[in-house]
């Protein structure tokens, strides 16, 4: 069989230059903890998979999309109506974006409740938080690109919120909008953020995040760790390759199935073209992942003592975000008190986000 010989020859040639055998050797030796809670760790991998889908479908959309106020809406309409399978590519891009953010949240809360952020994984948590912010940035900037009414007002409100931040707020708003108002200049800027700045930063952060996971290994939840310490015979490890890899592949395949079904059965709509001189339509809502913040701003009165309501809201969210990033330092594994604070904060956050999101969709 000359083919086998040829393949072996090529493999040898490549191996001589890249040292693949060495790499494969360490991959074969790599193991990950195996326990009843292992599956909660799959959400991170699914997020990565969906990010890959976003990159691929995003590149495809770039072939036809035009980032200007005069052409953006029409170009998306063109993609959806004239380009073969354009509707599918765009629908997958929109659905995968939403699913990715959902997976990011699930990943974050599973890490939180399994207390995987503990020493020495503080930086993994912090890099994950930055990735969450980047994912929200992707969502926010991408939402405007079709230049429809909902997106226009969502961007107006979102950038206005940035403008309320004390001291640097106004400058930040002008920077984001590319001027004092949301115009075509904003669209061009958001396009730049969405297709160049954010993907670059995200790729770097993902590499850092994965390098940390690789270096420090996957965390074992404290409850399982205690059992394993008491009875070392029940401690289980699973080979990364092929056992874990194939399980993860199944999870990715399932995610792909859900994504394809959603994109095909519920194609993403386009709405009406943005008109800066028409009123905000009744029933206007942001994307679901911003809903709890949107609702909070609705509930805060216009003035609380001497502070404007929206400024107070922004300060509170900023403070909560800051504390959230520092959670690994509050629960450093030494004091039980710290653990209670983190679990309490996690439960409160889940309840708050779920309750306000549901209220946002149900309340008139």
């Amino acid at each position: 069989m000359p083919d086998v010989k040829l393949i072996a020859h090529i493999r040898g040639w490549v191996d001589e230059r890249f040292g693949l055998q060495e790499l494969a050797g360490s991959l074969k030796k790599k193991t990950v903890p195996h326990h009843k809670l292992s599956y909660w760790y799959f959400f991170g991998g699914i997020t990565l998979f969906l990010f890959g889908i976003q990159v691929c479908t995003g590149i495809l959309l770039l072939l036809y999309y035009r980032p200007s106020a005069g052409e953006a809406f029409e170009s998306v309409q063109y993609i959806m109506t004239r380009v073969q399978f354009g509707w599918l590519i765009r629908s997958i891009h929109s659905w995968a974006a939403n699913l990715m953010i959902l997976m990011v949240f699930l990943h974050m809360f599973s890490v939180l409740f399994l207390r995987a952020y503990r020493k020495p994984r503080e930086l993994t948590w912090i890099s994950g938080m930055i990735l969450l912010l980047l994912a929200l940035g992707f969502g926010f900037s991408g939402y405007l690109l079709p230049w429809n009414t909902l997106a226009f007002f969502a961007t107006k409100v979102g950038t206005e919120i940035a403008g309320q931040v004390p001291v640097a707020g106004h400058r930040m708003m002008v920077f984001l909008r590319g001027g004092e108002d949301v115009t075509g200049a904003t669209l061009t800027r958001f396009f730049g953020f969405h297709v160049a700045v954010l993907p670059g930063l995200t790729t770097l952060l993902i590499l850092l995040h994965l390098a940390l996971v690789q270096k420090l290994g996957i965390s074992v939840p404290p409850s399982v760790e205690t059992q394993w310490k008491q009875n070392p015979r029940i401690a289980r490890q699973m080979k990364f390759f092929p056992n874990f890899f194939l399980r993860e592949a199944i999870a990715w395949y399932l995610a792909l199935g859900v994504l394809a079904a959603m994109a095909a059965i519920y194609p993403w709509g386009l709405g009406t073209k943005a008109d800066p001189f028409s009123p905000a339509p009744a029933g206007i809502k942001p994307e679901w992942y911003f809903m709890f913040m949107f609702q909070t701003l609705k509930f805060i009165p216009s003035k609380v003592i001497f502070i404007d309501g929206e400024v107070l809201g922004i300060l509170l969210f900023g403070l909560a975000g800051g504390i959230w990033v520092l959670l690994p330092f509050i629960d450093n594994g030494v004091r039980r008190f710290g653990r209670r604070i983190v679990v309490g904060a996690g439960v409160f956050a889940v309840c708050y986000i779920v309750a306000l999101t549901i209220h946002g969709y149900v309340a008139k």
């Binding site: 007002f153 107006k156 409100v157 206005e160 919120i161 309320q164 400058r171 002008v174 920077f175 909008r177 590319g178 001027g179 004092e180 108002d181 200049a185 800066p276 001189f277 028409s278 009123p279 905000a280 339509p281 009744a282 029933g283 206007i284 949107f294 701003l297 609705k298 805060i300 009165p301 216009s302 003035k303 404007d308 309501g309 929206e310």
Partner: protein, 149 residues
């Protein structure tokens, strides 16, 4: 002594090279930062515009018109009186609308309400809407504002 001299020379070179490096870094970063800030556009928006034609809007009705670069709201009250307000909500800058059923100005984004004088009466808006003067000149409804007032 010689050692001290060489140490001082080394220190001098470190400051010189370090300072030079920082200066060149600043000379790269400064233009980039300035580039990121969009040039200020002078607001050449007129202080007076024709908002519409008399009879164009029915009593207890409204229309949104361009006032310079921004939207404004022209309302004809149930009594046939004209009111002109900025259409930009003072809460988070959504474009407001006149609700003929409530006879109030409403912002759909966060449920803010203003009365026909632009006063914020309920919901989150912290300030009233800017009010403009309305004059009818022949067939034309003229809306004007006084700058710095």
């Amino acid at each position: 002594m010689a050692n001290q001299d060489s140490h001082a020379r080394r220190r001098f070179m470190e400051i010189l090279l370090g300072g030079g490096f920082l200066a060149s870094l600043a000379s790269f970063i400064y233009p980039v930062l300035r580039y990121l800030v969009p040039p200020a556009v002078a607001d050449l928006g007129a202080d007076e515009v024709v908002a519409g034609k008399a009879g164009e809007i029915k009593a207890n009705g409204s229309k949104i018109f361009r006032f310079g670069t921004r939207p404004a709201l022209l309302i004809v009250t149930a009594d046939g009186e004209y009111r002109a307000l900025s259409a930009i909500c003072t809460h988070l800058a959504c474009t407001v609308q006149y609700r003929s059923d409530l006879r109030q100005v409403w912002c759909a984004c966060h449920n803010g309400m203003y009365d026909l004088n632009g006063r914020n009466v309920s919901g989150p808006p912290p300030r009233p809407l800017e009010q403009f003067q309305v004059h009818v000149r022949g067939e034309e409804i003229i809306v004007s504002r006084t700058r710095g007032a």
